[in-house]
Amino acid sequence: MQDSAEAIFGQVVDAAGALGVTEIEAIVADSDEALTRFANNAIHQNVAEHTTHLSVRPVIDGRTARASTNRLSRNAIREVVAEAIAIARLTEPDTDLPPIAAPAEYQRVDRWFETTARATPEERAHAVAEAIRAVEAAGQTAAGIYSTGESVFSLLNSRGVRARHRETMARFSITAMAADSSGWAKASACDRASLNPLELALTAARKAAESSAPRELPPGRYTVILEPAAVLDLVGQMFPDFSATAIRDGRSFLKDRIGQRIFGENITIHDDAGHPLQSGAPFDGEGVPRKRLALVERGVVREVAYSRQAAALAGAAPTGHGFPLPNELGEAPTNIVVAGGETSLAQMVASTERGILVTRFWYIREVDPYEKIFTGMTRDGTFLVEGGCITAGVRNFRFNQGLMEMLSNVEALSAPVRASGEETYDMVAPAMKAREFNFTEVTRF
């Protein structure tokens, strides 16, 4: 793909040159993704897709625009270059627009695995069938997905940037449903061999069984034990705000809070594209190397992400977290690593006199952008903890919870794992025990 990306970029440069443009950037991507989906203990949706992508961005006297296509014939490449140049020329010059990025060295990350890339429909189907049998054996009904895929992403520009990232990704998630309860488990990994669908199925089935006949508890403030997926999906909502552009725009809760202690001293968070449990490219949407950022140290907000443009405006250095230009958002950290502690999930339960254990959250949305209050629901495995033991399943709660408050109330952290949820991108996160979590309503199941 690198050779073909280089060849495609050669055509892009030629086409641009013919139109009098010498400063140009191209993104060339190619992916194969397949997903085997099951419900009611049977495979019901079973798909594969191959996609190609070429997008080009000229810079012409402070003007820029992007045009994209998935056709890679010589004519199609000429057309997409002509389109990008034509619409760029119709914009007004922007004195803040940086020139195209210069070449740089990138951290080496190995995230492509043959076992994942070559997974067949049969292999996925047999793993799914085994997982279904485990759930059926518990008298329950299974639904879920097993996906595998590979992608190659290349960013090339006329100043000599040649950034390329190749990655595979496998995901398995499963919901086990009993008469009046359900359980869920999910994992993702670049290496399919490190996923264990059967173990995930058994976890989901156990949660469904243990949460049967759920009790209805009144809403109120409870100590919560959040499994890593619940931490990921809730805490993950705040990282778009760790952006210099968002702060400058006044849409980030970190405006006027950099350098302040806004979380507990036991909260430390980095952005680290090179972490062994992370995924993604070691460079950003302009080809700038991703730096490791200390976003939060012992509760204090230390660093935020800077794109090249945001960095120039602030007199800072770019951090390698910019989105492909042009865009309004600027940048964001996307390789989050939340530091953990030494308390296992079992120890958190054992140390809790009365609290709620949450497997996952659902439909999380922002209620207040500056106080960083979010609402959402618990789902698929919500338990009452009493006297250091799980004693019952409970009906699902709605919460309205401020993140600064929650992360100031953390009493224990587990070792971090690669966590995967449904509300934000995967990250490395621990389980957390926090006091005074605000459940405001209860639903009917």
């Binding site: 798909v47 994209s68 990008a84 279904i132 639904a143 405006k255 789902r379 709605r398």
Partner: protein, 484 residues
């Protein structure tokens, strides 16, 4: 494109299938945005590919590719069948489909002005004028405006013999003013959040929206919210503007009536539904004045869910969902209709691109207008009026919801007495709709476009339509988002 679709269909049909359909799509999009006096995102894209869906060995298989060479098409066809065969490892029964007719048709959605005929600099001129009006108001810290244009041509071919060439053209536009002051962020959007209004129209929609004319009022409201009182907590009569009511319909009626969700297909991700099969024809979903339809026909209006045929070749239809408050209909596909013994699909299968499998998706799920005037809807001793969505959340069976809005007003006898910031309300879907006391008439009815509805794995993002006029609800819990 017809040749492409037919050659792909031939490639799977000759391999031996119970049924197959192919969608060949060509999609063109343009996005133009501004931010604080500058161009934000100026981009255009085009995409072309085919999706091949086969029913073989009693199982579905689907493969999509943008390699449109004969070899690429043959490879995708073979993969679709291999995938279907793999499904036999976990098959409980053979898939069966409700019968459908063969159709040959060509359809182009009506529009007055091709949005792609308008140059980008003219788009930017309009948006920058709006931007300037917004920033003219002291206190506005961020002004954003956008336009989105899309044209999709799809050729559908199936082993039933159908060959349907359908082109849809849609336009979206809107703006927002954000104000940061003393540790508080307030925002007002026009004419709706999520980027504004989206309809199956051409560039004429941009003119109809009167963006420039509304910019000063919206900017002033964003700033004024800092000085407004916090929305109180408690029980109150609630009046919703039609855009917020459109999202309320989407979440608490549109999703629960998806029959695939009811039957468990989405259990792992989007969830299931409280509308179990035993509720059909029996459940008192709303008060007697609540009438809801799912209508993809052009007669219903230029919605994001308007088309001539769905993505499995079934003609657009109108289906009663709630009639006189009683739950009477689901949205179906050929497979789910057969599964519950219905004679025919009501045509709700849609895919968000050539690379994705069609799923049951909302078309235009609309609350029919009531018989009251707007004055009658507003004229109650005391109520809270809320406008324009700010946050939205509902549980995975669609019982418990909570919505936040950008602005609220305390109303007394139909008059606004004070502005309220951070308004929110919550409830249980059926209890909410049964509390519906008044719905404004057809002159206040708008067909809103929701461009960002997510469903399925891999996730698909679909545009849906929701017609509604302002309505009043009794004894609703308000202020719940800031409770505790």
């Amino acid at each position: 494109m017809k040749d492409l679709a037919l050659s792909a269909l031939d490639a799977v049909a000759r391999r031996g299938v119970t049924y197959a359909d192919v969608r060949a799509l060509q999609i063109r999009e343009r996005e133009v945005t501004t931010k604080n006096g500058k161009a934000g995102h100026v981009s255009s894209s085009e995409s072309m590919g085919i999706g091949i869906r086969v029913l073989a060995y009693g199982c579905w298989g689907f493969a999509a590719t943008d390699d449109l060479t004969p070899a690429g098409i043959q490879s995708a066809a073979a993969l679709a069948i291999e995938i279907a065969h793999s499904g036999t490892a976990a098959r409980k029964h053979e898939v069966s489909l409700a019968p459908e007719q063969k159709y040959e048709a060509t359809w182009l959605s009506p529009f007055q002005v091709d949005p792609f005929s308008i140059p980008v600099d003219r788009n930017l001129t309009v948006l920058l004028a709006v931007d300037a009006e917004l920033r003219r108001v002291p206190g506005v810290s961020l002004a954003e405006a956008s336009m989105h244009f899309e044209r999709r041509r799809q050729v559908f071919a199936s082993t039933l013999g159908s060959l349907i060439d359908q082109t849809r053209c849609l336009t979206g536009a809107g703006f927002a003013a954000l104000s940061y002051k003393d540790g508080e962020i307030q925002r007002r959007s026009y004419p709706n959040s999520f980027g504004g209004q989206y309809q199956l129209k051409g560039y004429e929609l941009v003119d109809e929206l009167r963006l420039l004319e509304n910019a000063p009022r919206v900017a002033e409201e964003a700033v004024a919210l800092h000085s407004a009182d916090q929305c109180p907590e408690g029980q109150a009569s609630l009046i919703l503007d039609s855009s917020q009511l459109g999202l309320q319909i989407h979440e608490s009626i549109g999703h629960p009536i998806e029959l695939d969700r009811v039957l468990g297909s989405e259990a792992n991700y989007a969830g299931m539904s409280f509308l179990t099969l035993d509720q059909l024809g029996r459940l008192r979903y709303g008060s007697e004045i609540v009438n809801v339809v799912c209508d993809a026909r052009l007669e219903h209006g230029p919605g994001l869910g308007t088309f001539a045929f769905d993505d499995e070749g079934v003609p657009a239809q109108a289906t009663d969902i709630i009639r006189g408050g009683r739950f009477v209909g689901y949205m179906t596909s050929r497979e789910t209709a057969a599964a519950v013994g219905q004679a025919r699909s009501n045509g709700c299968m849609r895919a968000d691109g050539w690379e994705r499998l069609p799923l049951i998706r909302m078309t235009n799920v609309s609350l029919l207008p009531g018989e009251q005037s707007l004055e009658e809807v507003l004229d109650v001793e005391h109520a809270i009026y809320m406008e324009t969505n700010r946050s939205w959340s509902i549980d995975d069976k669609r019982y418990n919801f909570q919505f936040g809005c950008e602005i609220g007003w305390e109303m007394r006898h139909g008059k606004r007495v004070r502005m309220l910031k951070n308004p929110s309300y919550s409830g249980i879907s059926t209890e909410f709709w049964n509390a519906c006391a008044a719905i404004a008439g057809p002159q206040h009815w708008t067909l809103w476009g929701v461009p960002n509805c997510g469903k399925g794995q891999p996730e698909q993002v679909m545009g849906t339509g929701h017609g509604s006029s302002p309505a009043r609800f009794r004894n609703i819990r308000i202020g719940s988002a800031y409770a505790g």
